[in-house]
Amino acid sequence: MSITIENLSYSYVQHSGEKIAALKGVSCSIEVGDFVGIMGPTGCGKTTLLQLLAGLLSPTSGHIYLHGDDINAKGYDRNSLRQTIGVLFQYPEYQLFATTVEKDVAFGLKHSGLCRDEINANVKWALETMGFEFEKIRHQSPLALSGGEKRRVAIAGVLATKPKILMFDEPIAGLDPYGRQSFLHFITQMNQSGTTVIMVSHNIEALCEYTRHLLVLEQGKLIDSGATRDVFGRRKQMASGAFGQTEAQKIVTMLSEGALALSPAIVTYDDLLSALKQELTRGGMG
């Protein structure tokens, strides 16, 4: 299942009547099974793009094709779109509402056409996948859980529909380092088992370590895209400055000013560590 985005634009009208272009002529494609990151500064159109991909907004112009079909064409089966794509928006824990965790996670399956046993099995699987003991958690109120637990319940609600494409908007914002790590490992596993993952994030290190391809947005335009390592390599040369550089890249730049020139291809922590080892051990100094 591939996604093709063709000349996609979206504008909205402010209260003052002013028209704001949130996305301007974005074209790209996302292959089945890929792990794609979307990055860019606040207000660049990342969330708008995700909402358009999920079919929650209709484009002002342009098209989104899912497996060759225009999702905004008349007669397109929106129900199948909902079952194909799972979206988790920012701070999803604030969207929990049901009286029990089990009911909350099952909500998205209400109109799925699945029978009760199948729904129960999906809910159990989703909660267990998110690290809960089903019997312990099912009758608890989602509102009584800790912040991290609430977010895991919200993710389980998306997983329960078993979407082929998972989209996350800032999924690790506000999580502690261990929470971040375990979430990123989890979505990597989902991706390895065949789910296409699209992740919007400000976390440069997470995008660099985990995604395979990147889309870079700035002021509503797609200014770069490609393999993650290549994009980060190019970011370093770009005039837009520090945004979009990994910490390892920043250290390489600072070291080159201090007269130690390391390879410009260094992007990740591991790259930097091995370059420094080589440079600073006896072998490298000779």
Partner: protein, 109 residues
């Protein structure tokens, strides 16, 4: 959720207020934000694990692990380089300190 430049802006404002004489108490799990504090109170599950200068706390791997926090990248690099037989003079907390230490080590050889 702030983007990296938004975070930097807020941090700058905190430093400005601090310079103007205000006492600042900032709660964070971004360890990089704690580097410039005068004092860190490290907490885990309702208990204070340690209290002291950033250098003593952020460079202590065991302590940081007990608090389920990651050490800053320069600290991680310091220990990984040490394992490879490269000994920096002191454990750096910031990128600037790391670069300084590496340049110093290079100039000695």
């Amino acid at each position: 959720m702030l983007d990296p430049s938004g975070r930097q802006e807020v941090i700058k404002i905190m430093h400005k207020l601090h310079k103007a004489g205000k006492t600042i108490i900032a709660i964070t799990h971004y360890v990089e934000e704690a580097v410039t504090a005068d004092k860190i109170i490290l907490m885990h599950q309702g208990r204070v694990l340690s209290c002291g200068k950033p250098q003593a706390i952020l460079s202590n791997l065991e302590l940081m692990e007990a608090a389920e926090l990651m050490v800053p990248m320069p600290v991680r690099l310091y220990y990984d380089l040490q394992q490879a037989g490269v000994h920096l003079n002191r454990c750096p907390l910031t990128d600037e300190e790391l670069v300084e230490e590496i340049c110093q080590l290079r100039s000695k050889t």
